[in-house]
Symmetry: C2
Subunit: 353 residues, 2 copies
């Protein structure tokens, strides 16, 4: 399977949409390093290549990623890297790297390893829906299997050693992507961001670290990795996600009771602009698709499902658009093409009631 | 005929729309005062009532306003005043006045006199299309006819004496309302405003003095009234309006050549939001109707004519909305009702091509 074959697929983090329309997807990653070898940013290319080769051979023997796609960063164009980043398969950090850094990912995109990102190994598992426990089971199995073939840098007192001190200990980051237009419309996002901060959690945007919460989506993840077991970290995150989901549900109910025309206006405007605009920017589209998604959840928009909105959310991002066009296109042409794709998809949609 | 009967009519300043879709309407007013009587703001109520009575009796004898509607400001509710102001029949200044100030207007709304506004008489003539010469003919005839029955305050050296020195001389203000979305999209409105200022002209918004240029409409009128004949003032304004119309036409052509998708996007978004929004504010609606109007001019929007857009422009203003509802309504209800009216009207509209 080639990278371009992914184009025909939905991407693991957005494939189906979760049951209740609020939790979009879950993700867990583990940071691991090989004992006695310099971290990737301090190692030379030769050393990185040796690490990569050891990791690939270990993964091959483990077999849990088969059938896998294997890529070295030096073989990818900028557009390819954007494309993989938008699918949440690689980080911006990895995208900036070249020879000796790479990605091994199972063809279903749900389980993979970034090699020589900030750490020698970044294991990651992701799946649509709210399923941290399952993901933990899978990634833990992969981690244990790899550990039989590679010697991890590990300290009895600290736990797993990582390039950045914020990851030391478990090396675990668990994240859940949420769609919270109700909280946004009710101006309750800020208090929640502050609240979760006090619980050792952190809020990030759609595409991870340093990105804005576009499209009323945010990722909730653990801040600390040290001094607690993986189970405790995941349990706390699970608990807080459930709370946020309840808040979002309540906000939607309250809005529909007290400010129904405000909610309908948000949804119907999004519907109107997506159906007719001739130029659509990337972030604006995410915001409008959020309105559409809420409309589907509330039964205001018909003829279009969450799966189609997920597809648009993914395929309207610059890297995906360029992949679909098969060439690099400038910003205005992208905005035209994005608007064309969205209009096409909107043809089967309608407003109910 | 009662004030409420106007509801079923289109209003003089927006009735048909002008031939080329750029000039919306023309208007001329003359400021006149009675000799030897204090200006309205200095006179007491009794004196204003005497002036009003003299003016009404003169107008009756003149007969040029028959059939006329005659109203004293004290008989009008705030909503009535908003309604008349939105139809350009009374100024904000007159709306603030009470007993002894009033309006006499021919039932076709094209010719009228405000009594005891800032001056004792403010004659005004207005009509859709670019027709300053015709309006001047009519208002001049009305002025001369009134002058046979009333003695105007007049100085051989200065001309007609007015309450505000900026109106002394001819007492004339001629205005043309223009719709210039092309200049706006091409960012050329500011240079034109500066340019016309140097020619002794001034730019105002949709509803006259102190209002913003909402909906890409502006009024161009003469700044000075002294030291030039009426013919010269009107000729210069006519000349400049023709220039602005040419600039607007060129801007539209250039935009359609060089940035067609930008123009189509402006039009189609307006179409999408007007067709689907559940809440529409007053100014936003004017801006969106401007997009729709441009779409009709350019053949992008079909099934809807300028006359219908003019009707919406007028009937979506707060005073008209409340008149239509038959009661005072708060802002959110107005926004809902406005959106409902607009959606209804948009049902017969479609995008061409």
């Amino acid at each position: 399977m080639q990278l371009d074959d992914l184009l025909a697929r939905k991407g693991a983090w957005l494939a189906e949409g979760a049951e209740d329309g609020i939790v979009i997807s879950s993700r867990i990653r583990l940071a691991r390093n090989l004992d006695g070898i310099a971290f990737p940013d301090w190692a030379g290319e030769e050393e990185c290549l040796r690490v990569q080769s050891q990791v690939l051979s270990a993964l091959d023997r483990v077999g849990l990623l088969a059938p896998a796609m294997v890529m070295d960063m030096s073989s990818l164009s900028l557009a390819d890297k954007d494309f993989l980043h938008e699918r949440h398969l690689i980080s911006m950090e990895l995208a900036r790297k070249g020879r000796g850094s790479g990605l091994v990912v199972r063809e279903d995109e749900e389980l993979g390893v970034m090699v020589n990102e900030e750490d020698h190994l970044r294991l990651q598992a992701m799946r649509p829906s709210f399923c941290l426990d399952e993901l933990w089971g899978e990634i833990d199995a992969l981690d244990s299997a790899i550990e039989k073939h590679l010697r991890y840098a590990f300290s009895e007192t600290l736990g797993y050693i990582t390039a950045c001190p914020t990851n030391i200990g478990t090396g675990l980051r668990a994240s859940v992507m949420l769609h919270v237009p109700g909280l946004r419309l009710a101006n309750e996002v800020e208090p929640i961001i502050k609240g979760v901060g006090k619980l050792g959690l952190v809020v990030r945007g759609l595409l991870g670290e340093g990105t804005e919460a576009s499209g009323n989506m945010f990722q909730l993840s653990n801040q600390t990795t040290l001094g607690e077991s993986e189970a405790v970290i995941i349990e706390r995150l699970t608990h807080v996600v459930r709370e946020v989901v309840i808040h979002e549900r309540n906000a939607r109910l309250r809005l529909m009771e007290q400010r129904e025309s405000r909610v309908r206006d948000f949804v119907c405007r999004a519907f109107g602009v997506l159906s007719h605009a001739r130029l659509l920017g990337s972030n604006e589209t995410l915001d409008l698709l959020s309105g559409l998604r809420l409309g589907v959840d509330l039964g205001i928009v018909a003829g279009l499902g969450t799966a189609e909105i997920n597809r648009l959310t993914l395929y309207c991002q610059p890297g995906h658009l360029q992949k679909l066009m098969g060439r690099s296109i400038h910003a205005q042409e992208r905005d035209e093409e994005r608007a064309r794709k969205v209009r096409e998809a909107m043809r089967c949609a309608g407003l109910a009631g």
